[in-house]
Symmetry: D2
Subunit: 341 residues, 4 copies
């Protein structure tokens, strides 16, 4: 059955597999000490216009969030996220497992508001009981968010300014970064993200790789002994060059953007079709995830024909469901989906 349930239902872009085939018997040093990692890092630094960036490759998203947050926070600090943030909801408590609280601000279609963030930071600094409370030590945003929405350059700048005024680093979870960068409705690019955040990651798992996330420390601020701490978390990939090869390929000839743009084109086709059929959306998403409100009878019927994700109850008779496109989505499948909707 064809599925639009998520953006990680296929393997990797063919150029990645091809490169892995070609180099399969090449002997490499382990744990990221190889030339592929070096090359990939250099290409990412260029793409970010951030020559001083320190880069590390990890395998998956929850792992990456956990390690970045745990290694950058002091033990008495927590991370601030929108209440719908992945780290707060869908990581099985992976942040708390490392001893840190996720502190929340309200979610506005997945995003936090600069003003509400500032209130939390101000309140923390002026509270008489400050020393008996968790210190906010990092701000986490996802871009695109879990609801497919995007921060504008202005919003990102405001949040960044507040973070830095309060000496709190800003971390951007880019698990779906390509789909944000290639949206028609964004004015945010990679160099801007590198400039405004302290650390972010470029998602590979959902954007053309078999697996892998590229963590970019932008301010010469990689935690000391990062390799050791990654090992301590059980997250140091033995054959690290597999990450290097994948990101080297994705950042050669603009492949990361090209394939992300394809997902956007596919989602635009889908969105246009849905609009023409008068479907209602839970919210306006400018990226590869679309949240459509279905009546429950229709949803049940559809569930036997095509894969999608049940997102949340909308009302007693309707449910919001998610359709996602990706680098691998075929045009004929989108057209077929529209034909059965």
């Amino acid at each position: 059955m064809i599925t639009f349930a998520s953006d990680y239902t296929e393997g990797a872009h063919e150029k990645i597999l091809q490169r892995m085939m070609e180099t399969n018997l090449e002997q490499n040093g382990g744990y990221g000490t190889d030339h592929w990692c070096d090359s990939a890092k250099e290409k990412i630094r260029m793409a970010c216009a951030c020559p001083q960036a320190q880069i590390a490759f990890l395998v998956g998203g929850t792992q990456t969030n956990q390690i970045i947050i745990d290694t950058m926070l002091q033990p008495y600090e927590g991370v601030v996220a929108a209440s719908t943030g992945h780290v707060n909801v869908h990581e099985a408590g992976a942040i708390e497992y490392t001893g840190h609280k996720v502190m929340t601000v309200p979610s506005h279609e997945g995003k936090m508001q600069a003003k509400e963030l500032e209130q939390l930071l101000n309140a923390s600094e002026t509270d008489d009981n400050r020393e008996h409370m968790v210190f906010p030590g990092m701000v986490y945003i996802s871009h695109p968010t879990e609801y497919g929405t995007l921060y504008s350059a202005k919003e990102l700048k405001e949040i960044s300014d507040i973070c830095h005024a309060h000496k709190v680093p800003l971390f951007l979870d880019g698990a779906r970064l390509g789909y944000g960068l290639m949206s028609r409705e964004t004015d945010v690019d990679l160099p801007m993200i590198a400039a405004l955040t302290d650390v972010f990651y470029i998602g590979g798992t959902k954007v053309g790789a078999l697996f892998g996330e590229a963590v970019v420390f932008t301010k010469n601020n990689m935690p000391s002994h990062f390799v050791t701490r990654t090992k301590q978390h059980g997250a140091l990939l033995a054959k690290g060059w597999l990450l290097g090869i994948q990101f080297d390929t994705l950042f050669t000839d603009d492949l990361y953007c090209t394939i992300s743009r394809h997902a956007i084109e596919m989602v635009e086709l889908l969105k246009k079709g849905l609009q023409e059929k008068n479907y209602h959306f839970l919210l306006e998403s400018p990226t590869n995830q679309q949240f459509v409100i279905l009546d429950n009878a229709q949803m049940n019927r559809l569930s036997g024909q095509v894969g999608f994700s049940i997102w949340e109850k909308y009302d007693e008779t309707h449910t919001a469901v998610r359709f996602a496109t990706s680098w691998a989505t075929k045009k004929e499948n989108v057209e077929w989906l529209l034909s059965i909707l």
Copy 2:
């Protein structure tokens, strides 16, 4: 300067100190293996009308919350609390430090509502992503709450029923339990608490002891090797009999209730005086903590004369402050306070 800032500003009830003096050179086994602990446990079991109760003594409130929650939860579980719960706000992340998330429901003057708790538990059980989320594994309530409010017997029963319908244990933080039990406006007593909760503790630090909290496991459900786990948390008091002596004294001749009632009488005197002077309250508290709204000029003037706690900003020109009475509050001090207000 006289202070009403909190209910732990003096030492211990004189009978406790006297008993400690008398028995000072008695030789006892360490770590709670002594006869004082045995005697105190038996008296508490009687007071709770819970002959099967398993009891342990710990030193302080945050420590007790941390150890109860950590030892009763499975590693993949979190604890549900009202957003204003002490474990969520004022314990410096002590729960998260042990790897567990604090999951919140809205606070209604410090209390959670049964219906909102039920919604959270239902939502968790039916979520498609359940296995990627923290499981609610315990419910935490404080009684009195951090705002001095109390659950009624009916409310407590509802929450207890919901917990047990969902197979989630109910934990009642009784750091100020005596002041709740002796309130004129409660229909909750100790046997009822023992019957409706799975674990609770009887606060000593704020109610007549130098320090100490008596943890009561009501359903033959003390976690295995509880002494070892207490030691592992660094919380096993070497001279455990000091806890035994204190609780044995507090539960002899109804002392715990008698001294708690005194605090209630003192707070009633204070409350009546404040009402007569037309002070406004942040909320109606039936226990030993009163939250009074002061205009900021008056608050600043008062702060040079008497001790109180700044609770929260009320509006641009007013602040809510806390006055607390305790077992040790002197009537003449309350009268003096009213005279200067």
Copy 3:
């Protein structure tokens, strides 16, 4: 430069890559819910003659050790290992990071002795201070060990019997299991391991896979909510079918054994050559790792010609170095190595 430094210097067996190419655009459910994982699990159950085995796939060795140990131990328990065990020495404290002590017994060329294990378990059970000490809650052995040595069937049986007499589960780290199973000098096979241990894993990273370890719970004893706990550790691979495909391939047509046997043939060639050249060995290893004593001048010269691992200082003028073969080792490279030694 050709290297024999480790057994994870190349990618994957060509059949694995080929299968990944063929199925690349197949859509699969995430997190191990796919048919490849199901198929691989069934084949492993057959190979282990253990129809009730519960199987999970993880990405890497340290991660696997960490998750098995953390999820199977009670919080007050530690794991017993030989002092040279990987979990004690070369995992950057990944076990302690999860809160558990690694308790050690002496290492005899990488192995523990049944008698010394029994002493430790007996001592723990009879110690007057037992409740103030870490409880041994699991026994960890590696097979082959970090020194390439193997337990005999008799030794394995003795250790297993002691574990079970003391109600302590036995965990076998099989990161290099194929090379142990295919050694000429072993009487231990996969069904025996499944019968004698409570949990073990079949290493893929070092034996033909890009990455991946297959964890086998042999006694219907997989910890509850294992997926959730894996996620909480940041170790749940999104595209879980990549693990399924690899292990399905390795356990089709006996591939795992065939390629492991190749590594043994290559190491025998190497060993024979070294013996003929009168090299001394640190110890007698019947598997794919050989520890050769070189004088330091020779070692320095060689280090410009071929890759190997510096293992440990032997004496003032000699060093023990490791040469490893693997499924990917080429015969001409072994011959070339012998020619330059």
Copy 4:
């Protein structure tokens, strides 16, 4: 039954209880913000000849070891101790619970040897796999040790020099410090300890207090937000002045030394009597703990008459047992003990 089983079988020196009685209804700020703590700190600074010392009070020994080690180590670091060190054996894994490994060097009657420590530190720094291993980040010694032995000034200086040459802080566990300082056979005093260590604590629980340990950071190196981290560990005593009063009393008019000397006088009386009766000792202890070898029949007979600790099996027919004196030991009890031995 009279007991010599440990040095924490009685309450507190009468002057402490008296001071607590006198000041019982004095109102004090919580959490160590009171004038008693200030005064006690100043007296300790003077006694240590260490005007810059930063001091904190905690309740118990395991708690203190856990908090010092956890707050001073980086997450990727472990603590080095003699294998018999309290943190390695008798704290139920409290150090590992906080995520840190206890790394061991051999124990020589409870002490570590400078040379063996140096070997471990050198080995760590030069290991090719350093980044995959736990970094030694602190050295822990107890003085007196768990076997009653003492470091000489020369030994302490050597260990201190090695630590500082390797930039690793030295932590001295002084749970029984008074009995070490007052031994006839020591050339180590408090200012020397302050000068040679980076952090140490002065034990109160075993030396005249109801409870309490005074932590002394000697090099302006108290971890930031130490109060918050103490709270996070559940270890911040609400009525912190109880610690202040106790240490203020102990450090007034040399009381700490006076009462420690009494324990030494009592142990000398005991030791002399035992020698005259030709008892054999497990080792020569110059402090308040004596380890005597009894034949098992005698031990069993004695166990019905007097309390002592069973320490370890000596041989098939003998056991080493511990007799401890303390500030509270009565001369007539020692004489009685000698009369029945």
